[in-house]
């Protein structure tokens, strides 16, 4: 009786999950299909078409797509790098030291993630134009800290808090200097959290659209903004658009698949406290 009930529940759950999966994945699938279609077949809603690689040739070989990807890598990678350099010590300080208004500061950092980007992007645009950061790598890397830094600080802080302070004392007594302790004892312990939050931060930075749209133009062209180029003013090459989107999504997908296991554990392990 009970078994049957459990079984029925399982079936219902699975059906619901399948429905959700179809709902979530279908647009992606459709995008991939479009990328193989010629312009004439783009609007056909049947799954039957004549597959062609013309769109891929056009985008990957005959446009500046590679340079857009490189820009994205520089900006997102740079942003994550800066976040790690700044965020790990910040997380350590928030975890270990007592100072006035510590929790307020921590919350302030977190709150950067709450604000919609569009809210701050116009003032930022004006400031950036004035001080010459507009359309520069540094400018984008800087503004991406709003996306990547809070995430990294909060996850890594949880990891530091989980390390008992006596371990640091023990290492001190064992004759290690603070820097040696930090790199030899602490960094290995926060690594799962650091890797997963850095990766997630990278994906968020990679996917960011509003900031590069407003704060950069010709010199720095991340791929998210560049995709729009394939929507010409006179004609829309949906096939090429689909190719650009598909390829730009690949790094994130590959990364996420590679460390999928660490991602879930890394993010929930330190942050969730019993």
């Amino acid at each position: 009786m009970k078994d049957n009930k459990q079984k029925a529940l399982n079936i219902v759950m699975n059906i619901l999950l399948i429905i959700y999966a179809v709902f979530a994945l279908f647009p992606l699938l459709w995008m991939i299909l479009i990328s193989f279609k010629s312009d004439t077949e783009v609007f056909s809603t049947t799954f039957l078409f004549h597959p062609t690689l013309a769109n891929y040739q056009e985008v990957l070989l005959r446009s500046d797509y590679a340079s857009y990807i490189i820009d994205s890598v520089i900006v997102s990678g740079g942003a994550v790098l800066v976040s790690i350099i700044v965020g790990v010590p910040a997380a350590y300080a928030l975890a270990r030291y007592q100072f006035p208004r510590k929790e307020d500061l921590a919350f302030q950092i977190l709150s950067y993630k709450f604000a919609p980007e569009i809210l701050v992007v116009l003032p930022l645009f004006m400031i950036y134009q004035k001080i010459g950061l507009y359309d520069s790598y540094v400018g984008l890397i800087w503004v991406y800290q709003l996306i990547s830094l809070p995430l990294l600080i909060w996850v890594v802080r949880g990891y530091f808090e989980d390390i008992s302070v006596e371990i640091e004392y023990a290492a001190q007594v064992d004759g290690y200097s603070w820097y040696q302790i930090f790199f030899k004892m602490l960094v290995p312990l926060i690594k799962p959290g650091l890797v997963s939050s850095a990766l997630l931060a990278f994906i968020f930075a990679w996917n960011s659209f509003t900031f590069p749209l407003i704060l950069s133009s010709n010199k720095v062209y991340p791929v998210t903004v560049a995709i729009m180029k394939y929507l010409g003013t006179d004609s829309a090459h949906y096939g090429q658009l689909a190719v650009a989107s598909t390829v730009s999504a690949l790094p994130a997908v590959i990364f996420a698949l590679c460390i999928q296991k660490h991602l879930v554990r890394g993010l929930s392990f330190g942050a969730v406290k019993g």
Partner: protein, 387 residues
């Protein structure tokens, strides 16, 4: 190998004064035990010696050299932490080798291996060396933490309850090992415990700590037989010493003590003893607290001459012997009895206090006044100090 001195150490955490003017000196090669209830400040003292905690006032000296501004790494102390503080990402072997691989205490790998093997043998954990701390039980972790300290040749070993999480059998054997080892290594050792058996067995001298202050420092016999106040007396000994309020009457020829038992007054004799009678005379002592160890309380289940009647509150075994607790109204009297007696709760029990072993405490200040055979114990303590 060093002489450790603490002078007037004060340390506060927020509003809590953890250490309030702690002063003591640990001699070279001495096994010094810090003993006191939880929260007394024992661990904080170790942290101050190790340099992990900075005292707000006072001086820490190693061999007469002020160490306050020396960081923990350069003090060359080996510390065993109460929560083990093992490095989770390293195997037991690497944990134990960590100090010897640091730049400061660099040792070649062959030597490291030899020392680790030796420490592992003492700690009975040769089979654990390749494991990670997460694969160890608490007792094993504690042995690793000890081992990590033992591979070193420090100025001083600081041990924070290193045997607390071991099972009873291992604890007993380790206690013996530890004492012997320390004597062989010839290294100063400061040892924190809240187990009075450990304190008595290990300590060359014991410091009793209460609320951040040193209450008494002395050899185990000194502290056991001549506790400086009721607090110390009650810490040392299990079951706890009986503290009984008494009215003293009589004259210099013969004094007696009146105690209250369930509303009645019982007069117990105070046998003649030079030092005791002299003190009572000198101070004109009318009231005192008598401290009588449970082994100095005799009992009978039939009315007996010289015994007074009370009722049994509880009877419980503590291993190879049992404790009878007798109800006496405002207080209870504990006494040692053999196992397997047929004692019913609330039944009558007749008690005689061997007052010729009593320790006298001031009824107001709770401080030590005098005890029977004082001269014997003073001599005993003095002979221990010479050893």
């Amino acid at each position: 190998m060093a002489r450790i001195e603490l002078e007037n150490i004060k340390k506060a955490f927020g509003k809590v004064q953890a250490l309030d003017g702690v002063t003591f000196e640990v001699k070279d090669k001495e096994f010094f035990v810090l003993f006191g209830p939880a929260g007394a400040g024992k661990t904080t003292i170790l942290n101050c010696i190790a340099g992990i905690a900075m005292p707000e006032e006072g001086v820490v000296k190693f061999d007469g050299e002020v160490m306050n501004l020396t960081d923990p790494a350069h003090r060359n102390v080996a510390m065993v932490f109460e929560n083990y503080a093992l490095y989770p990402q390293m195997t037991v072997y690497d944990n134990m080798a960590s100090a010897l691989r640091s730049k400061l205490y660099k040792t070649d790998e062959a030597e490291i291996k030899e020392r680790i093997q030796r420490a592992a043998k003492i700690m009975k954990m040769e089979n654990l060396l390749e494991r990670l701390p997460s694969q160890l039980s608490n007792g094993q972790k504690q042995r690793v933490a000890m081992g990590r300290a033992l591979v070193r040749t420090p100025n001083v070993f600081l041990m924070d309850e290193p045997l607390a999480h071991l099972d009873a059998k291992l604890r007993n054997s380790m206690r013996t090992e530890l004492k012997e080892m320390q004597a062989n290594l010839g290294t100063t050792c400061i040892y924190v415990t809240h187990d009075f058996m450990e304190a008595m067995a290990l300590g060359d001298r014991i410091a009793i700590i209460k609320e951040g202050k040193i209450v008494q420092i002395g050899t185990s016999d000194e502290i056991y037989y001549m506790p400086c106040n009721e607090f110390t007396a009650s810490l040392m000994g299990d079951p706890e010493i009986n503290i009984i309020e008494a009215e003293i009457s009589g004259s210099a020829d013969e004094y007696t003590a009146d105690i209250r038992v369930n509303g009645d007054t019982v007069t117990v004799p105070l046998p003649k003893d030079g030092a005791v009678y002299e003190k009572i005379d000198d101070m004109g002592l009318k009231r005192a607290h008598l401290g009588i160890r449970p082994q100095n309380v005799k009992y009978a289940f039939e009315p007996t001459d010289g015994y007074f009647k009370t009722t049994v509150y509880s009877y419980e075994s503590i291993g190879n012997k049992s404790v009878i607790v007798a109800e006496c109204g405002a207080y209870q009297i504990r006494m040692i009895a053999p196992n397997g007696l047929n004692v019913a709760i609330d039944s009558d029990v007749y008690i005689r206090l061997e007052t010729d072993h009593a320790i006298f405490f001031d009824s107001e200040t709770k401080k030590y006044i005098v005890r029977y055979d004082e001269a014997t114990y003073v001599a005993l303590a003095a002979s221990e100090m010479e050893e």
